[in-house]
């Protein structure tokens, strides 16, 4: 302890941080314990909808989650193909699709959704 420590605000004690971290993570786990593990299903359904309109590479889907005390954020990043590859909704017939996979142009990265407090996140 130096005398300087009187003048700066003390960093949060590690035990306080431990308690806060546990409260956040356990609150989420206790809620999740009753229901099914919905994230895989949510992801599959989201992708199925988007795939109706756009060719997407399943390897270029990034799902991020940040659990917070008050709200959580689910972030789904889907890399979309170049503009000419996005089919118009009117032509969107998943079964009969012309072979347009040859000329893959520069993919445009798009953030499909950052859902905050919306359907996915939980407020407590």
């Amino acid at each position: 302890m130096s005398i300087f420590s009187f003048f700066r605000s003390a960093p949060k004690a590690s035990a306080v941080q431990a308690k806060e971290r546990l409260q956040i993570v356990m609150a989420h786990e206790r809620v999740g314990r009753s229901g099914p593990d919905y994230l895989p299903m949510l992801q599959q359904e989201l992708l199925a909808v988007i795939a109706k309109y756009v060719d997407i590479d399943a390897n270029k889907v990034e799902v991020k989650l940040d659990r917070g005390g008050d709200c959580s954020t689910l972030e789904v990043n889907i890399e979309l193909p170049g503009r000419e590859q996005i089919r118009k909704p009117a032509d969107a017939k998943p079964a009969e699709q012309p072979a347009n996979g040859e000329d893959k142009t520069t993919p445009a990265k798009a953030t499909a959704g950052a859902l905050t407090n919306g359907g996915v996140s939980k407020r407590r």
């Binding site: 895989p40 889907v61 990034e62 991020k64 989650l65």
Partner: protein, 271 residues
């Protein structure tokens, strides 16, 4: 091809998760692309020790079941480059760990990573067996205490008979001892088994001795691998152990009682 390391002990509470987190972080600090996997299905804790518990989306079991892709389940560490965490499921049970599933994931990881550190659960049931089955190297985490030493001996027997290398008659899994929670003062008083006692009984090479240290609890409180606390004895001992693992000749420290002078008492508050 990446190497697979299992941190195992048989007994619970001896420091497998602490050591897995520290060791994986140490390998990544040396520039090796490293992933640390939690095999304790249903009792996930590596995420807390690594401080990424709020970022878990998908897990090891989701990947085994094809519900998510591997790169979606891997969590990149925010502090250390080249370090990734693969958390386990908190809701499923250990039957979700199939040998085929684990093998498929490890094969995929071996193509991309230099080291794969498997954090074994306690016991010798499915989770522990799956975590050691594919290992190339085993680090036996042991406390200088009778039940821990006996359980370590038991797990050495399992490694020698039930690992893939044993079953296929390949070169055996290398085995090294990591003696944790070592208290030189109690050893000096004759209250604790000495390093040499444990080595004599288990008869495997010594990878490192981690001293009992308050830094370990502090680090897990804040979700930071203790190896990143470079001022602590425990952090330094883990850094040494990683060096030895990589084949360096590093002298053992923290195995004798330190004679504390007035200055070191004033300057060094932490054990």
């Amino acid at each position: 091809m990446g190497k697979i390391i299992v941190m195992t002990s048989g007994k619970g509470g001896v420091g497998k998760t602490t050591s897995s987190a520290a060791f994986a972080t140490g390998l990544a600090l040396r520039g090796f692309k490293t992933v640390v996997i939690d095999f304790d299905v249903g009792l996930r804790n590596l995420d807390l020790v690594m401080g990424c518990e709020r970022r878990v989306v998908f897990d090891f079991i989701n990947v085994i079941n094809g519900e998510a892709r591997l790169n979606q389940a891997l969590i990149k560490d925010k502090r250390v480059d080249n370090l990734y965490i693969l958390p386990t499921s908190q809701t499923r049970d250990k039957d979700a760990l199939t040998k085929e599933g684990v093998e498929r994931i490890l094969d995929e990881l071996q193509k991309e990573f230099d080291y794969i550190v498997c954090d074994s659960p306690a016991g010798i049931e499915r989770g522990a067996l799956m975590s050691l089955y594919f290992a190339d190297h085993a680090v036996i985490v042991t406390n200088p205490e009778v039940s821990s030493v006996r359980d370590s001996d038991r797990i050495l027997g399992v490694l020698n008979s039930k690992s893939r290398r044993a079953e296929q008659g390949l070169e055996p899994v290398t085995q090294q001892l990591l003696l944790t929670r070592y208290d030189p003062e109690r050893v000096e008083k004759g209250e604790m088994l000495k390093v040499d006692d444990v080595l004599e009984i288990l008869a495997i090479p010594l990878l490192g001795v981690i001293p009992e240290s308050q830094a370990v609890l502090r680090a897990s409180n804040i979700g930071m691998p203790v190896i990143l606390d470079e001022n602590s004895n425990a952090g330094q001992a883990y850094l040494d152990a990683v060096g030895r693992f990589l084949g360096e000749d590093v002298e053992h420290r923290f195995t004798k009682v330190e004679k504390k002078g007035l200055f070191s008492r004033l300057l060094r508050r932490t054990a």
